[in-house]
């Protein structure tokens, strides 16, 4: 084959890219920005605590660690149900997809509710983020960092639950198939990420 023809033939190969489809890659890329966002917040928490260790208390003095540990477990279970939803549609199991997606939505909602209850209880004891009205143990720093960190995580979970409802409705309408279920996979990535952030946050905020 002539040089030119070889060059022409080789050039016609599609470019390999990253090896995963656009939506999945796009979600991963977005999640990397989220890593930097939460790192900024966690870094702030660390430096503020480092500077005023007396303002923060040992785990359990103010926060309800057993309840939150159970909540952590609930979020992990929701990751399992999410992954089982994905596994179902990979095998073409529509009923499994719907069942497991529904379970994930419910578990996500439970996580948020328990966190909401925890916030209310803490506020009742005077543990609030504002400097002016701070009354409970541990200076204002603890409250504001606690609520900011867990609050932004909770906001991400809320967005996740809302998107998950959207995906679940689509699943019930039969919009996903064994051949075409990128939406479920991409939703799953976001959900697992939210769980992953919580794993780190729970350790840093509640246990250390």
């Amino acid at each position: 084959m002539s040089q030119a023809a070889t060059l022409a033939l080789e050039s016609r190969q599609p470019m390999p890219g990253i090896g995963v489809y656009n939506q999945k890659f796009g979600m991963w890329v977005f999640l990397l920005s989220e890593v930097m966002f939460f790192t900024g917040l966690i870094g702030s928490y660390i430096i503020l605590r480092f500077a005023h260790p007396d303002a923060f208390t040992e785990p359990g003095r103010v926060l309800n660690v057993p309840l939150t540990a159970a909540n952590t477990f609930i979020l992990i279970v929701s990751s399992v149900t999410m992954v089982k939803a994905f596994a179902s549609i990979e095998l073409g199991d529509q009923r499994g997809l719907r069942r497991w997606l529904l379970a994930t939505v419910l578990l996500g909602a439970v996580f948020l509710s328990i966190q909401g209850v925890e916030y209310v209880k803490l506020a009742e004891h005077g543990f609030v983020p504002m400097v002016a009205s701070y009354a409970a143990e541990g200076a204002p720093l603890y409250g504001m960092t606690f609520y900011t960190l867990t609050g932004f995580h909770g906001a991400h979970v809320t967005i996740g639950v809302l998107c998950m409802i959207f995906v679940t409705v689509k699943a019930f309408r039969g919009r996903y198939s064994q051949a075409d279920h990128g939406g479920v996979e991409v939703m799953g990535l976001y959900w697992h990420f939210v769980d992953l952030v919580w794993i780190i946050l729970f350790t840093i905020v509640y246990l250390i």
Partner: protein, 595 residues
């Protein structure tokens, strides 16, 4: 989230001829990357003018500090809390300084470099029909609009606009008792947070598109340097902007919720803001220069009719700059009282980052060396970039040296440095880019004579304005002060300040030529064919302007982007997608006897 896009570029859908989308879908809420790029263009040009006007206000005050004989022109239109009897009040001066920086950086330069050209060029240069996520792209522009509205709103609220500098250091930016500003500062914070989301969406799009949607044959090392630069910039945006967003959220909470992340009397840490801000802030300056470097590489090769000297080195240099850019942020904080050992490490890394920049400079020179140079307007502006960027870079080396920075920090020496790189660098590159890609965007050429006149005047006035600032700064003139004459050691420099202001007014006036050229050419410019600059990259293989979907059939790429003056071509350029000519295979070498 329904259709699963495949990893290849796929066949383009071209709706040329019978595009039955409504006017609103075509030009207002469009998902076409070209339209979105042009929307960003008009928005940013508006803010460029506004930023310039603010600078004019500043220069007037510095020329005639609190001088009733020279009232601020237009000052009577402003409320008494800003301009009293023609005299600029210090609080208003602080707002002008703050908003000049904020608007230029966030609403003019960044959108011009990235919002316009990442959107416009990337799909065209890689041979794709559009971005990976067209609707996300549309959302990215329309999210920038409320951010723009908020930043403009700040001028009209009680207390005036933000006045804590574009760097918004707490406690000044948190305690309205210190700055006299409350609402404006909150609006500023909110606006930048929202703009950050817009940038992030764009970054996700640009990265995914470049990685996954290149046309067949478009390997990584056949990408045009403009695309490389924009791709690397997108990664910087992706990873730096979220840190700023986090910092701004904490700032917002301090401003409105009564938290104390940065308030020292309640245990907060003002230095935390500085670290978070500059961790973003330093990659930000590379975001502001890398795309410009990419455009300059394209244009210098084109204007010299020669390949870029050391293409691979250019790529590696840009990657090195982006890596190193993450570990130098402390050089903005040398005077914050940091551990000297930490300061020394930041000094070292900052010095090192000059090396890849120098490599690029030599390569631009090498590209021009012995080239058949065509001094068209884009080429002139690109050459100015190289010279002015070098000067800005050199002043940066002085600032990088920690002990020298003791004298120079927060003086006009820094102002000189930043304007040599941002105006002398980025803005000249933007003038070059606008002129170069104008025919592709609008189907008409900008006027070459007006372009040259604008270039000459801008170049001369720019240097007259900013070069003297090196001396002002090293002699102790501080930044952001509204009245230098209140300091005895600066009174002798008042004539210099006045002279700078005069040249600044001339510089601003010269921009009217560019504005006129731009708008006049939109309607009356000489009609342009697909490839008026005789360039090689894929966008020049499409009509001017390209139709929705860009390419009638997916292009196939056979070579790199800088095959100018190639022996393989009869002309002095060789487009990337021109199929190679059939040539007979050379006869095999005769084998020597006994071998």
């Amino acid at each position: 989230m329904s259709t699963v896009a495949t990893a290849t570029a796929g066949e383009a859908q071209v709706h040329a001829g019978h595009d039955d989308r409504s006017f609103i879908r075509k030009y207002i809420f469009s998902t076409d990357h070209k339209v979105i790029g042009i929307q960003f263009l008009f928005m940013s040009l508006f803010f460029l003018v506004l930023g310039g006007l603010l600078a004019m206000g500043m220069r007037w005050q510095l020329a005639f500090p609190s001088d009733p004989a020279h009232p601020l022109p237009g000052g009577s239109l402003l409320p008494e809390t800003m301009v009293n009897a023609g005299i600029v009040l210090p609080e208003f001066y602080n707002s002008m300084v703050t908003m000049h920086g904020t608007i230029m950086i966030f609403f003019a330069i960044m959108p011009l470099l990235v919002g316009v050209y990442a959107n416009y060029l990337i799909p065209l240069q890689i041979g794709a029909p559009d971005m990976a996520f067209p609707r996300l792209n549309m959302a990215s522009f329309w999210l920038a609009v409320p951010a723009a509205i908020l930043i403009l709103a700040g001028f009209f609220v009680e207390g005036g606009h933000a006045g804590a500098g574009w760097t918004s250091y707490p406690p000044l930016s948190v305690e309205s008792g210190y700055s006299g500003v409350y609402n404006g500062q909150v609006l500023w914070t909110l606006s930048i947070i929202i703009l950050g989301f817009s940038s992030l969406m764009g970054a996700v799009n640009y990265i995914t598109t470049v990685v996954n949607m290149r046309a067949p044959g478009m390997t990584w090392f056949r990408l045009p340097l403009a695309t490389w630069a924009l791709f690397i910039t997108a990664i910087l945006i992706l990873l730096a902007v979220p840190v700023l967003t986090g910092a701004l959220i904490l700032l917002l909470f301090d401003q409105v919720l009564g938290t104390a992340f940065y308030k020292p009397d309640a245990g907060g840490q003002p230095l935390l803001w500085q670290h978070l801000f500059w961790f973003f802030g330093h990659p930000e300056v590379y975001i502001l220069i890398l795309p410009a470097m990419g455009f300059v590489s394209e244009i210098i090769a084109n204007g010299s009719r020669k390949p870029v000297f050391g293409y691979k080195a250019m790529v590696i240099a840009m990657i090195s700059i982006s890596f190193l850019g993450w570990i130098v942020w402390g050089h903005h904080m040398f005077q914050s009282g940091m551990n000297p050992l930490l300061g020394a490490s930041f000094m070292a890394s900052t010095m090192v980052i000059a090396v890849p920049s120098a490599i690029k400079t030599f390569n631009w020179l090498g590209t021009m060396w012995r080239g058949d140079i065509h001094f068209h307007t884009p080429m002139l502006n690109a050459m100015a970039f190289v010279g002015m960027f070098v000067i800005g870079g050199l002043s940066g080396v002085f600032l990088a040296s920690t002990p020298v920075d003791v004298q120079l920090h927060d003086t006009y020496f820094v102002v000189a440095h930043i304007h040599y790189v941002l105006f002398g660098g980025s803005l000249f590159a933007i003038f070059a880019a606008i002129t170069f890609w104008f025919p592709k965007m609008f189907g008409r050429m900008m006027n070459e004579t007006l372009g040259k006149v604008h270039f000459a005047l801008t170049f001369v006035f720019f240097n007259l304005v900013f070069f003297p600032m090196h001396r002002l700064g090293s002699n102790g003139m501080m930044r952001r002060i509204s009245d230098p004459t209140q300091y005895e050691h600066l009174q002798a420099f008042q004539p210099t300040n006045r002279m700078i202001s005069m040249w600044a007014f001339a510089l601003f006036a010269a921009q009217l030529i560019f504005a006129f050229n731009f708008f006049w050419s939109l309607f009356r410019g000489k009609k342009a064919g697909p490839n008026p600059w005789r360039a090689n990259t894929l966008e020049w293989s499409t009509p001017s302007p390209p139709p929705h979907g860009n390419f009638a059939t997916t292009p196939v790429v056979y070579r790199g982007p800088y095959e100018y003056s190639s022996p393989e071509s009869d002309e002095d350029y060789l487009p990337q997608d021109r199929p190679p000519a059939e040539r007979p295979t050379p006869a095999p070498e005769p084998v020597p006897a006994g071998g």
